[in-house]
Amino acid sequence: MTNVLACIKRVPDTAGEVLLSADGQGLDARFVGFTISAHESCAVELAVRIAAADGGSATVLTLGPADAVEQLRTALGVGCSAAVLIEADPAAFGPADVAREIAAVVAAHAEGGRTYDLILLGNDAADTGDFQVGIRLAHELGRPVVNGIRTVEVAAATAVARGDSLDGEETYRVPLPAVLTVLEGGVEPRYPSITGRMKAKKTPVEVLAPTREPRGSGRVRLTLPPAQPNTVEVLGEGPDAAAAVVALLHRMGVAR
């Protein structure tokens, strides 16, 4: 029975133009929706599969505002059986702060008899892109950690995790308890079923306060990269443009 904790983050669901808030401390949230960071959707999927494979449990956790319950419910809807919200303004928490708060929950749950054999996080958050919470968490807990894995299976108290590097597909065999950070692409996150949604609504969310004052992220302000002035040269419309395109490819020396 493997008990898995999946840590997720509520992030802006931006696709088009990004606008900053007037104080330059965050995004203008008036026009953006929110979602679970892409890598973490895969972490949740892996957690649910591992728990289902050997009768364990999958718990989802986030540090965020009260509205982050929405993302926790999404995870509950696809098979997590418990949810924890550390209710706090995430902008005030740097990656080291977040790692300490997660570690505090893991320690508190352990005292109450709920231990996590495997902790999964996203490799990096879609918004702050810090690339470090998982490793800092592992350090706090004194557990081994591997970054950037795409699949993981558990057998004989060992996590067999795979990820890609420039050398090829790499396999890690890490004794549990351990921390892994997940990259998108190894598994397809499922959609919540109707019964999943119903269950998610009924599952209570454990709401906790942060245990200490955060040090912060060091953010001074956000800026937008200077707009690159650009004039696009339209080569033509429809298939008739093919000759102009191929002439360009020859000029660039990319077509034989």
Binding site: T14, G16, V18, L20, L27, A96, N123, D124, A126, D127, G129, F131, Q132, G134, I135, R136, H139, P144, V145, V146, N147, G148, D164, S165, L166, G168, E169, E170, T171, Y172, V174, E184, G185, E188, S217, G218, R219, V220, R221, L222, T223, L224, P225, Q228, N230, V232, E233, V234, L235, G236, E237, P239, A241, A242, V245, V246, L248, L249, M252, A255
Partner: protein, 326 residues
């Protein structure tokens, strides 16, 4: 003193590592002190000493021994920390690669200091303020760095790799070894399956990439794109929606959660150009967008564009290339 973590491939420093060394040299000119490099586990450091010397590195520290024959983030961090302590470096810098990020995050945890990922510039030096990419590069963050050592990873293409202006001698080569804690030894790679030649490594280094997005319409809508890529000796790259829908494999994905590409020519077909995709292709030298929507961000940011349906335009281009070949 600045210490740069250098990654190698086939015995020479990777391009992103040379970019990091170039970045470090510019920083060293402002903060004084030499630039040193650390290489972990590589078997042929002599060539590296020549190469890195030309880029202005004064000394290459080569950490070897049984713990370092297989990669592990924690083991590499132990090696880098040993060098840092031996030379008392106050800045440690690594390329903004998965391994660079992983190693510096370990150092951040061990020294209990901040780590700034994907830095593109250094502003004030007292206190140090860096500018780094967030939201896949769509937004920049100015971040104040408290504590020592300062830990930075350098975003790909933040600077162009450049040799030192004065002809420099080969870097001094210093060998060392160090013990590694069990917790890090157990988190090393245990097996590596060599990448297939058409996997993402080829995509990241391709000279031409032909891309396709939602405009492909379905899994059968990629024949023209695949053929064009073959005709141009290029690789196929797709947007996230394409892999999410299962139309193409994930290793072809270009973007914030896929590969970052920097080809001579990128031909995005039916890709609107959402910021997550732009994060992966912004370094393309030339972009030729094929799209039905002349106002799509990908079209307005492109060098060249064809306004039209990729299902008609791409086969016409392929036919024209073949006609000229025969």
């Amino acid at each position: 003193m600045i210490l740069v973590v250098v990654e190698t491939a086939a015995g020479s420093a990777t391009e992103v590592s040379l970019e990091s060394v170039t970045f470090a040299r510019a920083l060293a000119e402002r903060t004084s002190g030499p630039v040193h490099a650390v290489v972990v586990g590589d078997e042929r450091p002599e060539d590296l000493a020549d190469q890195l010397g030309r880029y202005g590195v004064a000394a290459v520290h080569h950490v070897t021994g049984d713990p370092f024959t297989a990669y592990g983030g924690g083991t590499w961090a132990t090696a880098v920390a040993a060098v840092r302590e031996a030379i008392d470096a106050d800045v440690v810098l690594a390329p903004g690669t998965p391994r660079g990020m992983e190693v510096l995050a370990h150092l951040g945890a061990r020294y209990d200091v901040p780590m700034a990922a994907n830095v593109v510039a250094v502003g004030d030096t007292g206190p140090l303020v860096v500018t780094r990419q967030v939201l896949g590069g769509a937004v920049l963050e100015e971040m104040s760095m408290a504590g020592r050592p300062v830990l930075l990873t350098v975003a790909g293409h933040a600077v162009e790799a450049a040799q030192a202006p004065d002809p420099a001698p080969p870097a001094a080569l210093r060998e060392l070894s160090t013990d590694v804690a069990e917790i890090d030894l157990v988190a090393r790679v245990t097996a590596t399956e060599p990448a297939e030649p058409d996997r993402s490594g080829a995509l990241a280094s391709a000279r031409v990439v032909v891309g396709a997005g939602r405009g492909a319409g379905g899994p059968e809508g990629f024949d023209g794109v695949v053929e064009l890529a073959e005709l141009l000796d290029g690789a196929v790259g797709v947007s996230r929606v394409v892999t999410s829908l299962g139309w193409r494999p994930h290793h072809e994905q270009v973007g914030q959660t896929g590969s970052r590409i920097s080809p001579e020519l990128y031909i995005p077909c039916g890709i609107s150009g959402a910021i997550q995709h732009w994060a992966g292709c912004a370094s393309s030298k030339t972009i030729l967008a094929i799209n039905t929507d002349e106002n799509a961000p990908m079209v307005t940011k492109a060098t060249y564009a064809v306004i039209g349906d990729m299902a008609e335009v791409v086969p016409a281009i392929n036919a024209e290339i073949r006609r000229l070949q025969s």
